[in-house]
């Protein structure tokens, strides 16, 4: 009877952990959609869509607060240890990153409103869009890696994030030149630069998600390491 009971509790606990992981992934899906819609609103000068993204930011915030509360409940009631505890503390951190990604989607949508209000030129939108699609793809891949606890996929995203950073730097340099050549564009180009900066921040948070996957699976804290050092630590540098 006692065994049945503790088996029952353990199954219940497993289910709770499973549920909370699903909720994090649902939150990730929502955030990814917010980023996608923010980029779409910018590309299509779609004011309605930009406003929807801004209005729905509170859904992301609510999810963060709910999952946060659930994690603390799980720690208090289940007193998890080892890998279960790692999972719960990682979720506490991951949802902060997801919430901030949501904030950056909000920021991009806000720039859409500025850009569409002030004029109708769409110069440089395609470069920004390209960067945006790249960053959004990395976010999706990082969420997949998190769902499958796939260290190699996480390392791939971390590696590709460096390319996205290089694209960002190159976009910023070209915007600077652009502004200097035609100062009438300053205000508009600044909005594009702020949007690009939001994408750079999303990449940084996406990179954090990859670090969490590695920590969960390998138990190694790889924060603040270069991708090369990560690979070395995980002995994946000779592939």
């Amino acid at each position: 009877m006692a065994t049945n009971n503790s088996q029952h509790i353990s199954q219940q606990f497993e289910q709770e952990l499973q549920d909370i992981r699903s909720r994090v992934l649902a939150m990730g899906g929502l955030v990814e959609q917010q980023v996608g819609n923010a980029l779409k609103s910018l590309k299509k000068a779609d004011i309605e869509l930009a406003r929807t993204v801004m209005a729905e930011d509170n859904l992301v915030n609510d999810l963060e607060m709910k999952i946060d509360e659930e994690c603390i409940q799980i720690i208090a009631l289940r007193q998890p240890t080892a890998s279960d505890l790692r999972l719960v503390t990682v979720i506490l951190k991951a949802i902060t990153d997801l919430e901030r990604i949501g904030d950056e989607a909000y920021n991009i949508a806000q720039k859409t409103l500025n850009l569409t209000a002030n004029e109708h030129s769409k110069k440089n939108y395609s470069e920004l869009s390209k960067l945006g699609n790249h960053v959004r793809g990395l976010l999706r891949d990082a969420l997949d890696a998190f769902a499958r606890l796939d260290v190699d996929a996480a390392l791939n995203v971390a590696r590709e994030a460096q390319e996205a950073d290089a694209e960002y730097e190159s976009f910023m340099r070209s915007m600077l030149t652009y502004m200097m050549e035609d100062p009438r564009t300053i205000s508009r180009v600044l909005d594009l630069m702020w949007s690009a900066r939001a994408l750079e921040r999303i990449t940084a948070h996406t990179h954090n998600l990859c670090e969490y996957v590695i920590y969960l699976v390998e138990g190694k804290d790889v924060r603040h390491l270069t991708v090369e050092k990560m690979e070395k630590l995980l002995e994946r540098d000779d592939e």
Copy 2:
């Protein structure tokens, strides 16, 4: 004997919580110093100091990782509940904010290098310095509120953070005008804008610290609320 033993364990646990709080405050002190030195390096065009700030960012990162590990150890070994558990989970979050503030100090120091490398004009430095001192003061006050678990002080900082945000917006508008009037300054003014942006991010993280103090003392999650709503929730709106 059993009582003595459990008393002993409880005292030990109290001491551990006290130690970890002290370490967070030490980390806060280091981060505040990094912000102060980054601002000083910018104001005095002090390349050496800027380099020191950048080099010492890893001290902040190391502290974050160590405290993080200690928190997880405490949860695993002591299985804290109620207010002790709140404290540990808040520390897990607060050190992330402190680490990001350290990153922003790094960013400001990096802009100092750009600015001093490219030219010697110090125009607009005094406005940026003023904003910087304001933001640094808020960070110090938030850390004090955290040390003393002082909800009223935390609310004051949250309120004043709004003023710092308004100062930031006004600085950004004046920089935009400045750039448009004299396009030769674009590159330099952009560096000043990025530094101001770093200060705005520091204010946002400082605001988070205030929310943690309120959560620790009152058990209320006030994230994503306006200061007015916070005051109402805490029934401090009729002072």
